[in-house]
Symmetry: C2
């Protein structure tokens, strides 16, 4: 039995989850892995009397985790960005393997941290299973379980707040603002919800999935990012009529021209398994050449679920530390061909279908004018419904699904549609993904 | 870059899938893993001229794979049982790591093979990701991704033939025999389908999942096994009316009294994600204390999908072989506390809800007599529907869902129900699983 000393940075919900799991299941983990995980030291801004620290030493100085020779693995669980990045960087350079749940740090500083890892000595390592989709072992699925595959796309519901809100809108017919308020009451959305509902959190995770599946750099800025604030109850209802559900997706996809990397709401066919992942659940659908379509779902957040993923990384790193000179540790840690610099395309070159909702006056010939504008830009219509005006209203909604087309063409066509005299309000557009 | 020599036993669809993936993606695998996988030798009963063996040596003697010093890893892909078992056993004792896709061998001989592994030297290893649910990395999810968890249940749709047939019955209203015939025409069922439709194949896989999640011995004989031949189109229709779908499940579950391990058709709530896994897809739902409900789905069979899982194991083993003395290899291979001998309960002590379809004469008071019989055995009714007789018939179907109850009580109650004078045919019973 190998004794492995853990140094935990932070005492928030994830750190408490780690301590709780070690308290409950530490003996079973030791039996399965051959590694006795011992919390040697915890560093946080302030102690919490109510937390059982399992006999660990405590200090308020993060650097103590690096300097304590009995800390074999550093767990970065403080969140935030700069202090976390510095801690990870310094630990790696000091030769200590790091496990982190910090998606923002990996998405924004992954390249620099991996460079530090490459410069560090053999025992160093950097793992971040918990950074994407909580308890779901999606990082190891991409890096290990599907290692023999060429990836075609990775498409995920990777923000539980957005999924909760869209599911509530679907089930209750609620408008966005009401569903958001409910989510906030239930603790599924923050008081300041922008990080989730504007798509930033999902984009951090997609940056990581993109880098791993397609060997790109960690480049958050290359992504096209939209949130869910523009989705209306009407859109969800019309989508359902057409056989679709609206989900907030992170999409990384190989196309003929390069890579697509985008975060936005999308219509997906309701018979797809991914369309049935509801509430706060996360799921990631991977299409690869040999394994076909595989999907991984589970809780995307929460202290215990995230801690489960953190400890999976810890056990994996610990096993590689069992013998001096063992080499398991960095096996999956590097990014050997990330220098290949695959091109992430601008959103204008992405391809997908489009759902269009066009508010227009209830006059004959409007649909024909819209169809002509689309046709001029080589956009073909897959389905269309025209909704009668509500009582007392004289505005109809023309709802159109297009076949797959380059985004730039849709944008150009919609400029013309928007300028039609019969169109009386902004045209709503949501992409359609078949997930084939 | 480490050069790893592979020795492949067999030249069937999975072996051909491995060769095809190595041909397509070998360079990418090398870049990701740091291991150049080279097919050193193939052994099979006869050569196949149409297969590109990637320059490997060929022989008809399996033993050559073990004796060739340039074979670093043996891939057992011949299927069958005795010859495969002997090959694995001999390879392990010779210190060669083995990767196999053979569920029957692991389910029936896993204990002996792991004993051989323990007796073998350090470099030996035994991996079998491909033995359960094809491309889905469920073995590594249980052993590694969820290593920090205490498992509550592992429930899977793990036979694609059964799932295809039940899905067809659900979608088309077809009876079992017609759906089977269609599956056979399409190649989703064998000419001799018993191995799949009687549940044996699923039971092999469940034996493995049970052993890994609950640290039991590999003991196929401890399982209760039923196939899908008794499921009727009527049962599927009534289940749908009650909000359920019928799936063929492998269930391994911890109860208060011990472990349940059973393979049988079951009603599951239709809003559950698992209920929406259709066609030949496989999926495994895992409930564990920290990660909660996680689900993994994908193709459960097919040469390429199975080969994807085989190569995931190969890469993992290869990485551990990169340095002499490295210890990564056996990290997850052992079964350290399998000696704990957890008890698998007899089916009579299993707990679940039950769907009952009782064909009876169309007379007043029958339902009351049935309800009394159930009540005498402390079985409470959750829902019931009584179907009018079809035109020209005088037999009604009384359909009842019970709350969760010990199996023995239902069996005893149904003996009484079956003996009621108004009951005119065999009572159908299918278990109900809430998956909570």
């Amino acid at each position: 039995m190998n004794d492995i000393g853990l140094g935990i940075a932070g005492l928030g919900t994830v750190a408490q989850g780690v301590l709780q799991i070690l308290s409950n299941n530490g003996a079973a983990i030791a039996q399965r892995s051959g590694c006795q995980l011992r919390v040697q030291r915890i560093a946080s801004r302030s102690a919490r009397d109510e937390v059982d620290m399992l006999g660990a030493q405590f200090s308020t100085n993060l650097q103590d985790l690096i300097e304590d020779p009995q800390v074999d693995i550093v767990l970065e669980l403080i969140g935030g960005e700069d202090a976390a990045k510095d801690l990870i960087h310094n630990a790696l350079l000091a030769g200590k393997p790091v496990v982190t749940a910090n998606k923002a740090v990996i998405a924004n500083h992954g390249d620099g941290l991996f460079a530090a890892l490459q410069a560090a000595n053999e025992s160093s390592d950097l793992r971040f299973e918990a950074a994407v989709a909580g308890a779901i072992p999606i990082i190891s699925a991409i890096r290990e379980g599907l290692v023999a595959n060429r990836f075609e796309h990775v498409v995920g519901i990777i923000n539980g707040t957005c999924n909760y809100i869209l599911t509530a809108m679907q089930n209750d017919g609620a408008q966005f603002s009401d569903a958001l308020a409910t989510a906030q009451e239930l603790g599924y959305a923050e008081a300041d919800p922008g990080f989730d509902i504007d798509g930033i959190d999902a984009a951090h995770k997609l940056t990581i999935l993109l880098a791993l599946a397609f060997d790109t750099h960690f480049d958050f800025s290359a992504l096209h990012v939209e949130g869910i604030t523009a989705v209306t109850a009407e859109d969800i209802r019309y989508a359902a009529e057409l056989g679709y559900r609206i989900k907030h997706l992170g999409i990384a996809r190989r196309s003929e021209d390069g890579l697509e990397a985008r975060v936005h709401p999308a219509l997906i066919p309701q018979q797809q398994l991914l369309a049935n992942v509801d509430g706060v659940l996360n799921a990631v659908l991977v299409k690869s050449d040999a394994a076909g379509h595989t999907m991984f779902s589970g809780p995307g957040a929460g202290g215990a679920a995230t801690a489960s993923a953190v400890l999976a990384d810890v056990v994996s790193v610990a096993a590689s530390l069992r013998k001096p000179g063992a080499d398991g540790g960095k096996r999956t840690a590097g990014a050997p061909d990330r220098a290949a610099e695959q091109v992430v395309l601008p959103i204008s070159e992405a391809h997908s279908g489009h759902y269009l909702r066009i508010p227009s006056r209830d006059e004959p010939g409007v649909f024909a004018r819209v169809a002509e504008a689309l046709s001029r830009h080589e956009i073909s219509i897959e389905a269309a419904i025209q909704k009668e005006p509500d009582a007392g209203q004289d505005v109809v909604s023309i709802v159109i699904l297009t076949h797959t087309v380059q985004e730039a063409k849709v944008v150009a066509a919609l400029e013309e549609v928007q300028d039609l005299p019969q169109v009386v309000g902004p045209v709503a557009r949501i992409r359609v993904e078949t997930l084939d």
